[in-house]
């Protein structure tokens, strides 16, 4: 809702990804084979971290400035508002990564098939991250050490997404056998979270605002 206004922020996120992704060759070495093998993992971990980085402030400013109270009292159903917030979060953290995937491909010497698969898996997977993360963000509202506490809650939930997402990409580099099943799993997971998590988040928000 709000975050859409800030196109510059999306740009900033894009650059953030470029930097994080450039860090790995610097830290790990520039061996071509090594880079290729790492690529899916790195892209996915960048997705996880960016998603998590932005989580802490997802509801925090609403909580601090009283907007959250207004949302709770709004006649609009709370889960719609939550969905709008999640969408904004995804537009800021997920979408840029999907867009930047070809560049990752270049930097890590991937071929076109793999790049397409990476974009696809990110497109399916990153919304799940935003949806799951929102629960963590709502639960930790107003607690101290929020940022790190969130990661503790949320990262374990992210792991399946990471495994399927990175798995799909890695598989497309080697055999292509199981690519569809990975993607199907991701889609199923996406639908599941899309249906369930907004309610959980809404409930957590009501509890936090007491």
């Amino acid at each position: 809702m709000l975050a859409m206004r800030h196109k510059t922020e999306i740009l900033t996120t894009l650059f953030f990804f470029i930097i994080v992704i450039s860090l790995f060759p610097l830290g790990v070495g520039i061996d071509k084979g090594l880079l290729q093998k790492m690529a899916p993992g790195v892209a996915w971990i960048a997705a996880l971290l960016a998603s998590m980085l932005a989580l802490e402030r997802l509801f925090a400013s609403d909580y601090e400035d009283g907007t959250l109270e207004q949302m709770l009292l709004s006649p609009q159903p709370l889960f719609i508002i939550v969905l709008a917030k999640v969408l904004a979060h995804w537009l800021l953290t997920g979408l840029p990564l999907v867009l930047i995937a070809p560049l990752v491909g270049l930097q890590y010497h991937l071929n076109i098939d793999t790049i397409v698969m990476m974009m696809l898996s990110l497109l399916l997977g990153t919304p799940i991250l935003s949806l799951l993360g929102a629960i963590g963000a709502a639960l930790t509202l107003g607690l101290r050490g929020g940022g790190i506490l969130i990661s503790l809650l949320v990262l374990p939930l992210y792991i399946p997404v990471l495994i399927y997402g990175a798995g799909a990409v890695a598989d497309s580099m080697l055999s292509h056998n199981n690519v569809e099943s990975y993607l199907l799993l991701l889609s199923g997971f996406l639908i599941l979270t899309l249906v369930l998590t907004p309610w959980a988040t809404a409930a957590a928000l009501r509890i936090a605002s007491e």
């Binding site: 060759p25 610097l26 930097q107």
Partner: protein, 248 residues
């Protein structure tokens, strides 16, 4: 004849001067670019060492690479002047330089990538020079991002100036670390300055292109400074009295 330089430190005096300079610089840039490109395409050999036609990217690539580094130096210089003497105009210069510098960096990276494809067989590699160039781009982008994120221009100027200076202190460290982390194993796809042995015609074309880029940069910077002046001083008398405001 002596010119009172300090007179032009006031935005109201610099504005008309810059207006005149812009058109001059732009004309020079255009003419030199045409001549330089002509020279580069028709007066130079078709093959340089093993490379074929595509080595001609060098005229843009090298000139852009140099510009991007020089401009960062200039940016830091003006930021420093601003912090020390607290003159508004120098901050304006610094912020006007940044987009041009970033543009040249991107051109350098882009043309480099296009060159790398035929000659090294890859768009990108973690060659030290490329890496440090990428970091330079990040420094530019960071500067611009910080400045555009702050609404209050006074704070934006000073904060970005501090960032630029920290960046400057870090540049040698970054350069050294990327370039030669391990003295025993320094290697690079870029051959060290093979410019020396290059054919004289190439040198001439390159020289022309560099001058052309310089004056393009000056022209654009002056233009941008004029815009910034108008934006920031719009409440002052002299801006409201300007003819182009009242008629345009």
């Amino acid at each position: 004849m002596s010119i009172n330089w300090f007179k032009y430190a006031a935005p109201s005096n610099f504005y008309p001067l810059a207006g005149k300079l812009v058109s001059w610089f732009m004309v020079i840039a255009f003419v030199l670019a045409v001549v330089g490109l002509y020279w580069g395409f028709f007066k130079t050999p078709d093959v340089l060492s093993e490379q074929k036609e595509y080595y001609r990217i060098i005229f843009i690539h090298v000139a852009a690479a140099w510009m991007s580094m020089w401009l960062y130096g200039m940016l830091v210089f003006w930021a420093l002047v601003g912090l020390v003497f607290n003159t508004r105009l120098s901050y304006m210069f610094a912020s006007a330089i940044a987009p041009t510098g970033a543009l040249f960096t991107i051109i350098g990276l882009w043309t480099g990538a296009f060159w790398g494809q035929p000659s090294w067989g890859t768009w990108w590699d973690w060659d030290p020079r490329m890496t440090s160039f990428l970091i330079l781009l990040f420094l530019y982008v960071g500067y611009m991002a910080l400045q555009s994120a702050i609404d209050d221009s006074r704070r934006a100027d000073k904060a970005a100036a501090i960032l630029a200076m920290v960046g400057m202190v870090m540049v040698p460290v970054i350069y050294y670390s990327v370039n030669c982390p391990n003295p025993a194993e320094c290697s690079s796809l870029h051959q060290e300055s093979s410019t020396q042995q290059i054919e004289p015609n190439i040198k001439i074309a390159m020289f022309l292109m560099v001058i052309s880029f310089w004056s393009y940069a000056f022209g654009v910077i002056c233009m941008r400074v004029r815009n910034i002046i108008l934006q920031r001083e719009k409440h002052t008398r002299w801006v409201q009295d300007l003819e182009e405001i009242n008629h345009g």
